[in-house]
C-alpha cells in the first residue's frame, strides 16, 4: 500500500486491520472486528479526507466522514435494512418540528390541541392501512418495542407455552429466550425448504396451555410470505393469541387484521419510507387482548405506553402509511418488474446461482441469491462491489461473520449459506440501478471465480464434498 494511499486515513491501525482479515489464524471475535474495520478501511482508502473543502451550504458534521464533493456515493440496494424517507413525509413532519411544537397531551392551550389533532389524524392513517380501528393503535418507538409488548407474559399462571418459528427476527427470538429463563416453554417451529411453515405441524404443536403464536408476515432475509390468514383462523379456532411482525409487510402487501384474525401486530416506520424511531402496535379490542404496559407514567396511549408521543414522528408515520396505501399497487408493479429483471439477468449470465425461498409465496422486492462461489465468502463479493450498498443478512446480524440463521433454518448447505447476498428493491429503485448492480455483480463474480482454485476443480468435475481437507 503506497504512502499516498495511506494519506488522510485517520483511524489507527488501519493497515494492520486490513491484513488481519486475510490471516487465517485470527480468533473469531478478532476477525469480526477486523472484517468491519477492513470494510471501513477499504471505504476510507477510496475517499481521501480533504482539509480544504470547497464552500458548500452543508457538509456532514462528523470530521471523520467529510469526503470531497466529487466523490460518488454508492448505489443503495438494501431496502430491507431501511428506506429513504419520502419527500412528502418530510414535508408533513417539518411544520411540527418548527412552529407547531406543542405537547399533544397539553389540554389547556392551542399548541396542545393542534398537536393532538395531528396525532389523532396520524393514528387514523395508520389504522386505515391495516384495516383496524384507530383506538386499537398504540404508537411506540419502533417494531422492536412493539414486539416486547407482544412476546410477553400473557396469563402467566395458566398458560406458559409460546410458539414461534426459527426464521423470526432477532428481537422476537431474544425475547423468547428471556421468557424461557423465566419458566416459559417455547417451541421454535422449523420451516420447510422454501421458507414456509407447515400448517399441520403448527396445528399439532398448539397445546391447551399455549398462550401465543408469533410468526412474521414477510421475512426480512428471504422475502417469503407466510400464510397468515390460515394461521390466524387456526389460532382463533384454538383460542390462542396470534402476533405477527409485519414490519416488512406493511405498505407492501394489502393487510386486513380482521380478515386475517390477527390479535397483535408490529409496525415499523422506517421500513415504509417513514422516519426512524417510531412504530406502532396494533392491539385488538374485540375480543380483548390484555397486555402489560412496559413503560409506566402518565397513562398516555391508553395506559399501555406512557410518555409524550413524539408528534413530528407520528405525523411522519401517518403520512408514510397514507402514501403507502395510495401507492401500494403502483409500487408493487414497479418492484415486481425490476426484481424479475435483476434475477433473470444474473441467472442468465452466471451459472449455479440459487434463489432462496419460495418462488410464489413471496414479496418480490426482497431477493436473496446464493452465488455458490464455492467457499468464496460473501465478504469478498461485498468488498468487490464497493459501489453498491448491499448486505448479506439483517442489519442487526451484519457485524457477525456467521452465516444467517435464516438460511440455516431453510436447510441451505454450508457453502450456500456462506456465499449468499441479499438484494433489496423498493419504491425509489430505477432500471438504471438494477442494470448497474447486475453488470457489476456479474463482472466481479466472474473475476473472483477465475481466481478461485475451487472453481477450477468444479469445472473439472471434482465433487467438492468428497475432498478430504488436511488439518495444519
Amino acid at each position: 500500500m503506497s504512502p499516498k494511499a495511506l494519506k488522510g486515513i485517520n483511524r489507527p491501525n488501519n493497515l494492520s486491520c486490513f491484513t488481519t482479515v486475510f490471516r487465517s489464524e485470527a480468533g473469531c471475535s478478532e476477525r469480526t472486528r477486523c472484517i468491519s474495520s477492513g470494510l471501513w478501511a477499504l471505504w476510507s482508502l477510496v475517499t481521501v479526507r480533504a482539509d480544504h473543502l470547497p464552500s458548500s451550504p452543508c457538509t456532514p458534521s462528523t470530521a471523520l466522514l467529510s469526503p470531497r464533493l466529487d466523490e460518488l456515493r454508492p448505489l443503495y440496494m438494501d431496502f430491507q435494512a431501511t428506506t429513504p424517507m419520502d419527500p412528502r413525509v418530510l414535508d408533513a413532519m417539518l411544520p411540527y418540528q418548527v412552529n407547531y411544537y406543542g405537547n399533544p397531551h397539553s389540554r389547556t392551550h392551542a399548541y396542545g390541541w393542534e398537536s393532538e389533532t395531528a396525532m389523532e389524524k396520524a393514528r387514523k392513517q395508520v389504522a386505515d392501512l391495516i384495516g383496524a380501528d384507530p383506538r386499537e393503535t398504540v404508537f411506540t418507538s419502533g417494531a422492536t418495542e412493539s414486539q416486547q409488548y407482544c412476546v410477553a407474559r400473557f396469563y402467566k399462571a395458566k398458560k406458559t407455552h409460546i410458539i414461534t418459528t426459527q426464521t423470526e427476527h432477532k428481537c422476537v427470538l431474544d425475547s423468547c429466550r428471556i421468557l424461557e429463563a423465566e419458566g416459559f416453554e417455547v417451541t421454535y417451529l422449523p420451516v420447510k425448504n422454501n421458507g414456509l411453515i407447515d400448517l399441520k405441524q403448527l396445528q399439532e404443536t398448539i397445546r391447551p396451555d399455549t398462550s401465543l403464536v408469533s410468526i412474521m408476515t414477510v421475512n426480512n432475509e428471504i422475502g417469503v410470505k407466510q400464510p397468515i390468514k390460515e394461521i390466524g383462523h387456526l389460532c382463533r379456532s384454538k383460542n390462542v393469541f396470534f402476533h405477527t411482525d409485519a414490519a416488512q409487510a406493511v405498505g407492501k402487501i394489502p393487510i386486513n387484521v380482521n380478515d386475517w384474525k390477527v390479535d397483535l401486530m408490529s409496525i415499523s416506520g422506517h421500513k415504509i419510507s417513514g422516519p426512524k424511531g417510531v412504530g406502532a402496535l396494533y392491539v385488538r379490542r374485540r375480543p380483548r387482548v390484555r397486555i402489560e404496559p412496559l413503560q409506566n407514567g402518565g397513562g398516555q396511549e391508553r395506559g399501555l405506553r406512557s410518555g409524550t408521543v413524539p408528534t413530528p414522528l407520528v405525523v411522519g408515520l401517518g403520512a408514510a402509511c397514507e402514501i403507502a396505501q395510495q401507492e401500494l399497487e403502483y409500487d408493487h408493479k414497479c418492484v415486481t418488474v425490476l426484481a424479475n429483471r435483476l434475477v433473470q439477468k444474473i441467472v442468465s449470465e452466471i451459472p449455479d446461482v440459487v434463489k432462496n425461498g419460495d418462488p410464489d409465496q413471496r414479496y418480490p422486492g426482497k431477493i436473496r441469491l446464493s452465488n455458490c462461489l464455492f467457499f468464496l465468502k460473501w465478504e469478498s463479493l461485498l468488498m468487490a462491489l464497493k459501489d453498491v450498498a448491499l448486505s448479506s443478512g439483517s442489519a442487526c446480524t451484519s457485524a457477525s461473520l456467521e452465516p444467517s440463521y435464516v438460511l440455516r433454518a431453510i436447510g441451505a448447505d454450508e457453502d450456500l449459506a456462506h456465499s449468499s447476498i441479499r438484494f433489496g428493491i423498493g419504491r425509489f429503485t430505477t432500471e438504471e440501478d438494477v442494470d448497474y448492480t447486475v453488470e457489476k455483480c456479474i463482472q466481479q463474480v466472474k473475476r473472483l471465480r477465475e481466481m478461485s482454485p475451487l472453481w477450477e476443480m468444479v469445472q473439472e468435475g471434482i465433487d467438492l464434498k468428497s475432498i478430504k481437507w488436511t488439518q495444519h
Binding site: P57, L72, R73
Partner: protein, 100 residues
Amino acid sequence: MQREKNYTEINMASCSRAQVISLYRMLMKESNKFTSYNYRTYTLRRVKDGFRENLHVDNPKTLDNLINQDRENLAVIKRQVSIGHLYSAQRNVVEKEPHL
C-alpha cells in the same frame, strides 16, 4: 343563450385541458430540480405515470380533485427541492453528469 352556453362549456373544457397540461409541465420542471438522484427519478416517473393513468377521466368532480391534489404536490415538490439544495450530498455512481 344556447350559443353562450356552448361557448362557456367549450371555454371551460379548453381551460381545463390547458390547465392540466401547464400543471404537468410545471411538475416535470420542478421535479427535475431535485438534487437527490432517488427523489428526482422517482418524482419524474410517478408524475408521468400518474398523468398517463388518468388520461381518460371524464367526471369533472374527479378532475377537479386531481388538479387540486397536483397543485398541492407541486407546492410540496418546490419546498423539498429547496431543502434538497440546502443539504445536498455527492452524486450517485449511476448519475452520468453533475446535475445542475
